[in-house]
């Protein structure tokens, strides 16, 4: 008898645990899959370090990023530079400033440029995309026209080379960090808009939208609760990936001389631009900010790719 009772208890216990582990929402499942991916972990670690650096960098910096403390030791016009040494880990730049401190302080600007311009692209692009997608899927004939107009407009934006578009915007708005962020953000708008609209079109013709229509659910609710939540995953992936492109494009704009002219606030792209002139004599001056940009972009790209895999419905278990 006791044996039988034990057996039943054991069975109940096992059933209990299996109930707890029976997965949860799509997002939580994607999180679980992300945690199992090496690519995601490496990407997340790089991003975490970068963000940490951006926050505490200015306090970590051993020297002032703008003071030309060692001006007497560097003679840029004669090709005399000071490389890495005990006092200045990354050496000195052409004005006798400490490179290590400048890199640490510059991380904040670089992250801000990336995040803000990505957010500009994401928010405006998503709004345009939702409008267009909703109009196309449920708006009838007028909606289709609205969608066509919006999409032709984004096509025009997409057909311009992105750097050229960004340079034109920057040229109109003048030279500042805000300009760089807006210019890079605007370039991202049509990408997000097209992506979300396409994803919404696919979801709009799915069975559950038809089923919701058959139950008389209002169009607004169908868009908000049925189509939109199911269309978001590619946009989230794109947002992560575009952080990397935004940082690179911002660096490119800074390199072209459209970035922040204020020497007190170092930024990796500007540093790279300034280093170009002295590349023959002191290549390391360009190498540090460049490596920083590459590693950061790599981090966002790795996480983005891992998220793409985790959210792919075809791989959903």
């Amino acid at each position: 008898m006791t044996k039988k009772a034990d057996k039943i208890d054991r069975l109940a216990e096992l059933m209990q645990t299996s109930e707890v582990t029976s997965g949860a929402s799509l997002w939580r499942e994607a999180m679980r899959r992300l945690k199992a991916s090496k690519m995601a972990i490496i990407g997340a670690v790089i991003i975490a370090l970068f963000v940490l650096l951006a926050i505490i960098g200015p306090w970590l910096a051993p020297h002032s990023p703008s003071a030309q403390t060692w001006r007497g030791e560097v003679f840029a016009n004669k090709g005399q530079f000071v490389g890495a040494r005990g006092e200045n880990w990354f050496g000195l730049d052409h004005l006798g400033r400490d490179m290590f401190s400048r890199i640490l302080v510059g991380a904040r600007q670089t992250l801000m440029v990336g995040v803000v311009s990505m957010l500009i692209g994401l928010i405006v692009g998503a709004l345009v995309g939702v409008l267009s997608g909703a109009a196309a899927t449920l708006g009838g004939r007028t909606g289709e026209r609205v969608d066509t107009v919006i999409m032709r407009f984004t096509d025009i934006m997409l057909s311009l080379p992105s750097l050229l578009l960004a340079v034109s915007i920057a040229a109109v708005m003048g030279q500042s960090l805000t300009t760089v962020m807006i210019a890079v953000g605007v370039v991202q708008i049509p990408i997000f808009a097209r992506l979300l609209r396409g994803s919404m079109l696919v979801q709009g013709s799915s069975d559950y939208v038809l089923a919701a229509k058959a139950l008389g659910i209002r169009k607004k609710r169908i868009v908000l609760t049925q189509i939109l939540p199911n269309s978001l995953s590619p946009v989230i992936v794109q947002a992560t990936l575009s952080l990397a492109t935004a940082i690179i494009e911002a660096a490119a704009l800074s390199y072209l001389g459209l970035g922040n002219p204020d020497p007190a606030i170092p930024e990796w792209g500007v540093m790279l631009a300034q280093a170009e002139r002295f590349f023959d004599n002191e290549p390391m001056m360009a190498a540090y900010p460049a490596i920083g940009i590459i590693i950061t972009a790599l981090g966002f790209t790795l996480l983005g790719e891992a998220m793409r895999e985790a959210l792919d419905p075809k791989l959903r278990g």
Binding site: S22, G23, A24, S25, L26, G140, R141, S206, D207, Y208, L210, A211, A212, K213, A214, L215, G216, I217, R218, R221, T225, Q226, P229, N230, P313, R316
Partner: protein, 332 residues
């Protein structure tokens, strides 16, 4: 008068640079309160398009709908989209074929059920959740409060179809259209789902339009059966009458093609030749003629009329119906 009365319903898909394709070509049938009417036919005969046309769910562009479909005296086909949307879910409801893809994958079941209660019955918050749990309980989902918090992929196929049925009957619709509700399920679950639908019809007096290709489902559930071929009804009769005396060669062939357990060993199956693509336009004659064993020149001169060659109320669209052979011939 019947609750739903469909007359000469036709649906034509048009596309630029292509020939128009007529999916439904003059289908007529009635559904009464508390009655189960079957639309039977093979893939591509226009069953699903008929149901979508009735619900007003066909895409607006490239589709021409003709004929009349009166529900409770109001014409569904000419109704304004807004009015029709208010009817859907409350008066008319539909159950789809694939229960997984018909549920929103990123929203818990509970939200999807309460959504309808909110929309059509004005229930909110706790009241809506309670009613949703009641509904799930009624369609036989155990532990409904827990299930409400779960996502579609956590439910089994049968459970999902039950949830969809719960959503469809949430507002006690007067007509329920079931488009092959059991096709994606295995046989035991099929039987349970059919039992559930039968119960709903018996208890609520809901009219049920059952769309299926499964003659077993028809035999178990339907009162009246319409056999469709190439977008037209070819035979229409009560269930017993149809199964006992299939008279159109197509219906005859369908029933004859079912493998029987009591058939002698080694007896070959008797399929219907060809496929639904081997057909002629109804305007030119009987669309089934190319596959028919009985066709004559008469079959190729215009659409055959519906006649009642065997019994009153048993309509057959055929000039050479399969009738019992005269006694003399059998003995010869």
């Amino acid at each position: 008068m019947a609750l739903l009365s469909v007359e000469e319903l036709s649906v034509t898909f048009t596309a630029k640079g292509r020939k128009d394709s007529t999916a439904v070509d003059g289908v007529s049938f009635d559904v009464d309160q508390g009655q189960v009417v079957g639309l039977v036919g093979e893939s591509g005969c226009g069953k699903s398009v008929t149901s979508l046309a009735l619900m007003g769910l066909l895409p607006g562009k490239g589709v021409k709908v003709g004929g009349r479909a009166e529900f409770d005296g109001k014409d569904l086909l000419s109704m304004s989209p807004r009015k029709l949307r208010d009817m859907r879910g409350s008066q008319l409801a539909m159950i789809f074929q694939d229960p997984l893809s018909s549920l929103n994958p990123v929203v818990p079941i509970g939200v999807q059920v309460t959504e309808i209660l909110e929309r059509h019955r004005g229930l909110k918050g706790e009241a809506a959740r309670k009613e949703a749990a009641n509904l799930l309980d009624r369609v036989g989902i155990p532990d409904p409060t827990r299930r409400l918090k779960e996502y579609p992929h956590q439910l089994s196929g049968g459970m999902r179809q039950r949830a969809l049925i719960a959503m469809a009957v949430a507002c006690a619709p007067r007509l329920l259209i079931a488009d092959e509700p059991t096709t994606a399920l295995d046989v035991t679950i099929q039987a349970q789902i059919l039992e559930l639908l039968k119960e709903l019809v018996d208890q609520e007096g809901t009219a049920l339009l059952m769309i299926t290709h499964d003659l077993g489902v028809v035999a178990g559930l339907c009162d009246q059966v319409n056999v469709l071929y190439a977008g037209r009804a070819v035979e229409s009769a009560g269930r017993r009458e149809l199964f006992a005396h299939p008279t159109h060669p197509y219906a005859h062939g369908l029933l004859g093609s079912i493998p029987r357990l009591d058939a002698p060993r080694g007896e070959p199956l008797s399929p219907i030749r060809g496929s639904i693509n081997d057909r002629i336009a109804w305007a030119d004659g009987c669309a089934f003629a190319p596959r028919c064993d009985y066709y004559t020149m008469e079959c190729l001169t215009g659409t055959p009329e519906l006649t009642e060659p065997r019994a009153a109320g048993h309509q057959v669209r055929c000039v050479n119906p399969v009738l019992p052979k005269p006694k003399a011939e059998v003995s010869a």
